[in-house]
Symmetry: C2
Subunit: 142 residues, 2 copies
Amino acid sequence: MSRIFKSYGFITGKVEQLFEMEFSQKLTPYDINVKQYGVLIKIDEKPNSSQKEIADELKIDRTTMVSFIDHLEALKYLTRTKNPQDRRSYCLTITDKGKQILEDCWSTLEQSEKKILSPLSDQEARLLKDLLIKIFKNQEES
Amino acid sequence: MSRIFKSYGFITGKVEQLFEMEFSQKLTPYDINVKQYGVLIKIDEKPNSSQKEIADELKIDRTTMVSFIDHLEALKYLTRTKNPQDRRSYCLTITDKGKQILEDCWSTLEQSEKKILSPLSDQEARLLKDLLIKIFKNQEES
DNA sequence: TATTGTTATACTCTATAACTATA
DNA sequence: TATAGTTATAGAGTATAACAATA
């Protein structure tokens, strides 16, 4: 086996590439990319968040966030209203259409994930996720 | 916990981001990026490969490969010689300097990996790699 | 006619700096 | 003075199309 597999970074990147390719293909009909899908989830979970709050949580540049929100607003997946408490910022809220898209996307993406994870048993898949979350949570704290 | 963690794709991407950030920082002094490091490994393992062979294996566009090889050649990490059997293509071989760089990079990157994987036990880390390789190998066959 | 490598070009994604309006 | 959002712009990184040399 190639020496390249000695590297966790390399193999993680390769598997990520599989998800990325599948996801971006599946999201094309909804006219959003993977990061914009993530933004929509966050707004659904924390209604009235500002652009900066979402940007910080997902590590997206605030200028990039502007174009993301412009796009999602144009698609009527969310609404921007001025925050009365601080008129510099917006309150972002997901629309019914946005909620529907989120459900549709999720069921489609879940199928993609199952396909990619097919060589693993259910137990192995759960274990994989636990290990990845452990790594992610650890650095989030530091 | 955020719904976003339901997605294997998302969490895999986040962990990949950790490796990517660490790796690209560590490779900066060597003036190469992560993909170019991968190219160098492949040439070390399979001397006299052509640009196309490397490109296919690593799923890199052949026009992108030209600039990668230009760069690695300028750094004297590899040499290009015309293939006598097929003068359309090059035989790529790593130089002694390139081999040294590869060793240096690997020991540096290994430290980065250990840092990122620190929340896992040795056994868990090994398991994680096995699971990822299982996924990658599966799609490579199909 | 097909393939390897090259070049010019364009496209996507993202970041930097300067701006506005509010605080 | 500092912050949220915006705009114009520039920079990676990569891909498309047309080309030369060789098969």
